[in-house]
Every structure is written in structure tokens, then in C-alpha cells.
């Protein structure tokens, strides 16, 4: 997917670009509203992440003025957890908001929810042999059949399909899947891999165990 990140704090922007890049997303960074205008004029984005306080203006005002001819969903990044601010952001036409500092797992979950609500305007599908996996809707389409995946299964499969042919260790998978306040052990990964294998049975895609190293997706 292609994101536009409008954020004036360069360090934060840098880490967001890197972190989303690790999940295979392309992120353009605009430092202010003027740059954001330029980016929007030249490229198509699946989603916009918009900071509220920017050097050349208020992100919400920008949103309000743009909303009429902007089809791209917008998630507002706010530093304030006070609910009035969030409500304000939604009133101005944001699709959702997330409070800084944010958990990338949560950011992703919110992006997915927004894109799903917008009826999948973004093409973000993966081929699994003869089947098609859509992480936004959390389904695998295979021979006129739709297989529903739960959130953690979607996340797990997404990590596999974004790293084709690679061996992924349990600890790598753990880091990607869980937000860090949950006390999750590597055993949980085994459980989720087991479930995902069952659902992938009919599709003809396997998750191989590489003894002592981790797992690999074989299409």
C-alpha cells in the first residue's frame, strides 16, 4: 500500500516510514501542508496519516478544506487524548484518529478497519497459488469459496506473504504480531501457525517447519 505521512517531527516520521516499510508499505513523507499538497497533486495514495499540529497550519483545517475532493481515507495523528479533540477530528472528516504514541499493530488495525469501511478502495491483494488473499477484508478467495481468517491469522499470513521464501523465526513472528503489553510466549505462535495451516489446507499452500530455525511459506 502507499501511504502519505504528514508529520513535522522528522525523527518520528523517519521511524514511521521505516516501520511501515518493514511491512512492505511505501510511505511518502511531507513535512508540512504545502508539501502534502504537492504530494497529493502528483501521486495516488491508499491512505493519509495526518498530524494535527503542523508548522504551516492546523491539520484539521486542511482536512476540512480538502475533504470535498479528496477520496483517500485519512487517519489523524493527535497528541491529545482528550476526547473533544478526537471528536473534532472526526467532525472535520477524518475517518479515524490515533493517539500518539501509537502501537504500530494498532495503527495497522485501524488502517485495515478504515479501508474495509471504505469498501476496499485500495488494491492490496496477494496471490496464493490459485487463491487470492485480501488482508483488508481478512479473507482468502479460492474456487468460489471464501475462507475467513481471524485477525492474528491475517497478520501472520501477511508477514509470510510479504517475505516470500524466507525462513521466519518464532521470535520474529512474535514481534510482528503482538503489541508489547501482552504477555505472549512463543508457544502462542505455534498455536496460530497450527490454525493457519488448517485453513490453508484446502488452498494447497503449506507452512513448512524448518527445524531449529522457524517457518517458511511454500506456495
Amino acid at each position: 500500500m502507499r501511504f502519505l505521512l504528514v508529520e513535522d517531527n522528522l525523527e518520528l516520521a523517519d521511524s514511521v516510514v521505516k516501520r511501515l516499510g518493514m511491512d512492505g508499505h511505501a510511505v511518502d513523507h511531507a513535512e508540512n501542508l504545502a508539501m502534502a499538497e504537492d504530494c497529493l497533486a502528483t501521486a495516488e495514495y491508499d491512505l493519509i496519516l495526518l498530524d494535527v499540529m503542523l508548522p504551516d497550519g492546523d491539520g484539521r483545517a486542511f482536512l476540512a478544506s480538502k475533504r470535498a475532493d479528496l477520496e483517500t481515507p485519512v487517519i489523524v495523528l493527535t497528541a491529545r487524548s482528550q476526547i473533544s479533540d478526537r471528536v473534532g477530528a472526526l467532525d472535520q472528516g477524518a475517518d479515524d484518529y490515533i493517539t500518539k504514541p501509537f502501537d504500530f499493530t494498532e495503527l495497522e488495525a485501524r488502517c485495515r478497519a478504515v479501508l474495509r469501511r471504505r469498501n476496499g478502495s485500495a488494491r492490496n491483494e496477494f496471490k496464493l497459488g490459485e487463491a487470492v488473499f485480501d488482508p483488508n477484508s481478512g479473507t482468502i478467495q479460492h474456487a468460489n469459496e471464501s475462507i475467513d481468517l481471524r485477525n492474528r491469522e491475517i497478520r501472520l499470513l501477511e508477514v509470510f506473504v510479504r517475505n516470500p521464501g524466507q525462513i521466519l523465526s518464532k521470535s520474529q513472528l512474535l514481534d510482528r504480531l503482538f503489541s508489547y503489553d501482552a504477555e505472549v510466549t512463543e508457544n502462542a505462535i505455534e498455536v496460530y501457525v497450527g490454525r493457519l495451516r488448517k485453513k490453508l489446507d484446502s488452498v494447497g499452500v503449506r507452512i513448512e517447519t524448518v527445524r531449529g530455525l522457524g517457518y517458511r511459506l511454500c506456495i
Partner: protein, 458 residues
Amino acid sequence: MIRPAASIGRRLTLLLAAIAALLSLLSWGMVSSFSGQAAARTQDNVLAASVATIAETLRSEQGTVRLELPYSAFAMLGAISQDRVFYRVSVNGETLTGYDDLRGGRIPEVPGEVLFDTLAYRGETVRMASISRAVSAGREAVPVTVSVAQTGNGIAQVTSGLSRTAAMLSVAFFILAVALSAIAARASLRPLNEIAQAVSRRGPSDLRPIRRTAPRELAPLMSALNRLMDRLGQSIRRSEDFITEAAHRVRTPLATVRAQAEIALHTVTGDEEKKSLRRVIRAVDESSRSTGQLLDHATVAFRAEDLDRRKVDLSEITRSVVESLSPTAEMKDITFDLSSKPSPVRGDAILLQTALRNVLDNAVKYSPPETSVRIDVRCEGKLAEVEICDQGTGLGAGPVEHLTERFRRGDNVAGVVGSGLGLTIADEVMRAHGGSLRLRNLDEEGTGTCVLLVLPLA
């Protein structure tokens, strides 16, 4: 609450009523005295006419004075009232006819002049008129005095009757005047009440100047009020800006730290390093959560002072909060089971959202993955209820009433990030709306928590 000083309306009414009472009393006194005087004058005139008539009939016959008492002289006296009448006609001080003991009045010196006296006669007070006339008896003229006296009972009766009527009229006038003064006081205070109502009808955050036409006397008050609201608005905006700015300055670096730590977590391989990076992330989460809830708590305290009491649908508010928290729940594969009926309540939508968000946030936080949180919005009699039940760790064995206290956390939640303010906020919002928050374990074993939010229906 300000203890009101004496009301202007009542003071005005009392003042006007006192004036009315004084005027009534005065008019009663004047009417009584005039009517008394008028009655007395009438009696005097009739008495004068009576003595004059009698004096007319005096004539001399063969050297003696003779008199034929005319009936009309007494009939005219009877016209006033049924009083007793006495008379005496004397020649040179010798009684010619009448009551011999009717003496004591002054004897008029000038013929034709009528003199009046009030004197005691036979145990009664009488009014007496006397007239003198010279009647020629033989060679010389002799002075003849005619006196007619009448008791004053009838006059007193007439006077007191008139005075009673006057008193009744005065009382009626007084009552009417009091009623009119109350109306007048209310009418002149109406602009003041209208302004007060216009101000009190406003929401807590409405600080626009009052645009109403007010009487000239109230203009200084109005402009002072508007200036005060303007200053208040500015100071609120300044402190809001300050909070926004402060939150921005604190949270943006925190966000950077968290993001960097998360990236590092994916690149380092050592278990020890990973462990300490997780600790960093956890600490960031903890501090961001606490600042958020402290701000929420301050908002609740501020807004609850002067609560917005608009009609809102509790089920709509619940639905929007559930929707906004769904992605967070989805991360743990927790599903929200929402069943709701329209439940109108009066209150501040933002506060109610804050309360529900904190309770639901707790439910998600303490629920194991792949469970469901049941949310039920319903009306019970005169109450609207929201029940939120999770399948989490429950409230532990300790007493549950204290869990709504500030910074108090259950004794079985050591592993979860939290500040202990969530339930406090929800509880305070409920109290501010005249409702309550109740906690219980879902079942005997203590797994699962039910939070019941109760509010009066609108």
C-alpha cells in the same frame, strides 16, 4: 450557591403596597371627617331653618307675645333622622312655651342672627340653634329667643355609616393597589429575568456575547457581563491551547521513542536486548496512558461543574464508542456483542463517551484473546442502563467498591498497563449525571467482570 439578598421584586411590591396603605388610610380619614362635617352642617342648616320658621310665627296680641308652633318646623328636623327634638321660646328670659330647662346656650345679641351650641341636656349631647327677635308688645318691643335642640344620634349614625363605607372602599383600593404593584414589579423586572434565562439556558461552553435588547438601566450590567464572558473565553482558549501544546510536546517525543524501540526490536537478536526494548515500550505506553487519563479526568471535573443537559441517545453514544474501539479489540480477536434499544438521557455526550470508552477500554485490556465483550443498552423502568461484561480476569477476591477510587487497581492485574483512573472517570461521569456505576464479578469463580452504568431516562 449564592444566598439571594432581598428580592428587588418583593421590595418594589412592598414599597408600593406601603404607599398604597398610606394613601388608603389618608383617604379614609379625609372621607370620614368630611362626611362628619357635612352631616353636622346639614343639621345646623335644618336647625337654623327650624328656629327661623318658628320665629316667623311670633306676633303680639294685646300686649303679649303669642306663638303658634308650625308643624313644618319640626317635620323638617325629622327629615334628617329619628332624633329627639327639644325647643324653648322665651320672652325676656321667661319661658313662653317648650322645655323650661333647655338653657345654657348663648343668647344672640343681634336680631336675626343664629347661634349654634353643643351642650349636654338630659344626659344626652344635643346641638342647639338659637335666634332672637324683637316683638313689639304694646308700646315697647320685647326680645324673644327661640331655641331648638336635637340629639346627635342620627348624625353619628350617618357619619359612622359613611365612614364604614369609606373604610371598605379604602381596603378594596388597597388590595387592588397591592395586586397592581405586584404586576408592575414583575413587569419591570421582566427584562432582567429574560437576560438571566438567556444566560442560564446556554451550554457550558457557550461564551458568545449576549445579543439582546435590554432597557437602558441594564445596559452597563449587560456590557460588563459580556466583557467578563469574553475574558473567560479567552482564558479558557489559552489554557486549552496550552494543554494541547503541552500534550503535543510530551507525546511527540514519546511517539518517536516508541517507534524507534519497536524498529530496534525487529532488528536486534539478543534476548536480553529484546527484553529491555519491551520494557521501554511498556514504560512509554504506561506514561502515555496516564497522561491521557489525567487529561480526561481534568476534563470530566471541568465539564461536570456546569453540566450540559442536552437530550442524547445513550445507545447511539455506545455504538460510536464501540465502533471506535473495534480495531483495538480486533487486535486481540475480541468481538463486541452489542445489543441496544434507544435510551434517551439528558447529559453531556462528550463526558458519556469518555466514561464508556474507559469502561470498554478496560474490558478489552483485561480480556484474554478470542473472547467476546457483551454490551447491552436497555431501559429499566425510569432508568437507562448499559451493562458491559467481559470474560477477563474478573475483579479478584478483594472488595469491589474501592475500585472506583482514584489510582486504585484490582489486586490481580499486575501484568497489565494501567493507571487506575479509568473506573474513577466513569464513576464521576455517572455521578455528575445523577446515575451510578456498579461492579460485580460475572460468576462465582471471579472470571469476567460486569460493569453496570445506570442513568435516569430523559
